[in-house]
């Protein structure tokens, strides 16, 4: 009965089987709920009252006419021989799956996803950049700690979703506003965390590098950076979920594409299966993002996972750095000099591909090293 022992361990097979069964149960419950809420609706070629609402409301159309039309409709309904099943509340899984081809073609799912992901990335980038720089200044320099640390903690209580109006006033109604909103949303959580992570740096490490003759800058590079960043990686991962909530809110304002805008439109049109399909896409993107962060964490901070430094890890690290640099280039330079957006885009692409190749080579060496070790 180890399955019910508190905090008991599952074997690998148990884990896999239970994972699959769990998924099946969830889908089954979903399906059952959909079927329970399904309705039979008569199939009628042509409702008499199916007139444009403008005509129905037109006072020149007599009330008597409308009544007679409605009567005719109810006779049709009563005599109906064909029925179809509709799902007005919850679309079943197969309908959701079936909605995808249409989403790809007509609703430009790929394009909208790219738009949202790129906004998310930019928002993330600015939030991390600002919170790390400001966080280190506040965390390390007593003057600024005294000045601002309390205020930074208080930022967390801002009701962000109520601030959308302000962001429109400050940043206009375009992409800039959406990105700024997202960046701010992440920033208010990240900034206090950065300060806290700096506080958590172990005293004995600082004393050690001091006795070894480190300058202030060498202390920052050899102790503060690795110690703080290796922990921040986990914080950034946790914030992924929040970031998607905020990007959807931002995209609802002045709908200019993106998954948030799409989901809103589809809900208004009553195409519930598409709403569900987009939700699944967002969950998948978030999940993928999380996996990417985990991967980066494993490669950039190998000491958290591995016992030794293995050949190849350096190359992966350099490759990942190049990709991060590429993202930085693509975001930061055009933000300062808007006319460079095209050039920087190309440059960043080249850099990112180079980084990818280098890190793939590193991965190859890592694989080989682990095969040799085994």
């Amino acid at each position: 009965m180890s399955l019910f022992k508190l905090r008991g361990n599952l074997t690998k097979t148990q884990n896999l089987v239970l994972g699959i069964v769990g998924l099946v149960i969830l889908v089954a419950v979903w399906w059952i709920l959909a079927e329970v809420n399904a309705e039979q609706r008569a199939v009628i070629d042509d409702y008499e009252t199916h007139l444009p609402s403008s005509i129905l409301q037109d006072s020149t159309v007599q009330q008597i006419d409308r009544d007679s039309l409605a009567r005719a409709d109810s006779i049709k309904l009563a005599n109906a021989t064909e029925f179809e099943k509709v799902y007005p509340i919850l679309p079943p899984p197969n309908h959701v799956v079936a909605a995808f081809p249409d989403l790809f073609q007509e609703d430009r799912l790929i394009y909208n996803s790219k738009l949202s992901i790129w906004r998310n990335l930019q928002g993330y980038f600015w939030a991390i950049l600002i919170s790390v720089v400001v966080g280190f200044v506040i965390g390390l320099i007593p003057l600024f700690r005294g000045l601002f640390s309390k205020q930074v903690d208080a930022l967390r209580y801002l009701p962000l979703t109520a601030l959308t109006g302000l962001f429109i006033i400050w940043f206009g109604i375009d992409d800039k506003m959406k990105i700024a909103f997202l960046a701010f949303g992440i920033l208010v959580y990240m900034l206090p965390v950065v300060v806290q992570r700096i506080d958590e740096v172990k005293d004995v490490y600082l004393k050690t590098v001091f006795t070894l003759g480190a300058t202030d800058w060498q202390t920052i590079r050899s102790v503060y950076f690795p110690s703080v960043f290796s922990k921040l990686m986990d914080d950034i991962r946790v914030l992924t979920a929040i970031s998607w909530t905020y990007i959807i809110i931002a995209e609802l304002l002045n709908r200019q594409g993106g998954l948030g805008a799409l989901i809103y439109v589809k809900a208004r049109q009553g195409q519930l299966e598409k709403v569900f399909a987009i939700l699944i896409v967002i969950i998948l993107i978030g999940f993928l993002q999380d996996r990417i962060f985990v991967y980066m964490d494993r490669r950039l901070f190998p000491h958290k996972y591995a016992k030794k430094r293995i050949n190849g890890i350096k190359e992966v690290e350099y490759g990942l750095m190049a990709i991060l640099m590429a993202i930085t280039l693509a975001i930061i330079v055009p933000a300062i000099i808007p006319s460079t957006i095209g050039v920087m885009g190309n440059l960043a692409t080249i850099l990112a591909i180079t980084g990818l190749v280098i890190s793939l080579y590193g991965e190859y060496r890592l694989r080989r090293a682990s095969v040799e070790a085994a």
Partner: protein, 267 residues
């Protein structure tokens, strides 16, 4: 009578008239403390500071390392006030290795700070790693439990000696280790000392350890701290396991024990 033998040699470490107060001068934890270690360049020496908890033994080491400044008094190394140009390595009781770096990177850290290039760094660090018996572990991340407690302290010793082979400060370095590892570490330290002849200032409250490793033992009384006893350990220069079976060793341990009890009565 001075506790410190008069010699012609200049002192490598001098603490003069040290006062320490944490409440703005109302009460003093340390008052009028003098502590001098003479320089024996080619020979080195092993100085042990014994004292009860709270007697300020670790504080003395922190002064010498430059980690803390006394309220009043002078701290001199080679006759000069401590400054930022050359620091003194210290081994702490807690594991102090940077866990995101490998053993090799940890040991060569001081050389990296000095701007020495990687090849030379690695060469010197590997020599030191071999010396402390960590060969084959150099690519491991310096963290528990990948490395054992004893191995981590070996990393710290190698790192400090590479940073400054003249002086080594050790603040109860074996306090957290199990008894077997502690004995091994003591032997290794004795061996390393014979090789480099550094001036070691070693803080402990283990009397047998103090007698086994030390040339000179100073006993600190507390409230306020002052050095009240100096015991010269006249055991052979080269210490081995046999030393501990020497009747004179046992005699010395008992003598130090008695003095500790006397000192405890003082304050």
């Amino acid at each position: 009578m001075s506790l410190f033998p008069d010699t012609e040699n200049p002192n490598i470490i001098e603490l003069k008239q040290i006062d320490q107060s944490y409440d703005g001068g109302e009460s003093f934890i340390i008052q009028g403390l003098d502590f001098m270690v003479e320089d024996k360049p080619a020979q080195g020496q092993f100085v042990v500071i014994l004292g009860m908890s709270g007697s300020g033994k670790s504080t003395l080491l922190r002064y010498i390392a430059g980690l803390q400044k006394p309220t009043a008094g002078e701290v001199l190394i080679h006759g000069k006030p401590i400054d930022d140009t050359k620091r003194v390595g210290m081994v702490f009781q807690q594991y102090s290795s940077l866990p995101w770096m490998t053993v090799l990177e940890n040991v060569s850290l001081a050389l990296k700070f000095q701007g020495i290039e990687e090849k030379e760094r690695k060469e010197k660090a590997m020599e030191m790693i071999e010396m402390v018996g960590l060969l084959g572990h150099e690519d491991k991340f310096a963290q528990y439990p990948t490395l054992s407690g004893g191995q981590l302290q070996r990393v710290a010793i190698a790192r400090s000696l590479l940073a400054n082979p003249e002086v080594l400060l050790m603040d109860e370095p074996f306090g957290a280790l199990d008894i077997n590892t502690r004995l091994q570490m003591q032997d290794m330290l004795a061996k390393i000392w014979l090789k480099f002849h550094p001036t070691v200032i070693f803080v402990t409250h283990d009397i047998a350890e103090a007698v086994y490793l030390g040339d000179d033992i100073y006993i600190l009384k507390s409230q306020p701290s002052r050095i009240v006893e100096h015991i010269h350990v006249d055991l052979p220069f080269h210490r081995t396991k046999e030393t501990k079976r020497d009747p004179h060793f046992v005699e010395l341990v008992h003598m130090v024990e008695d003095k500790m009890i006397d000192v405890a009565k003082l304050g």
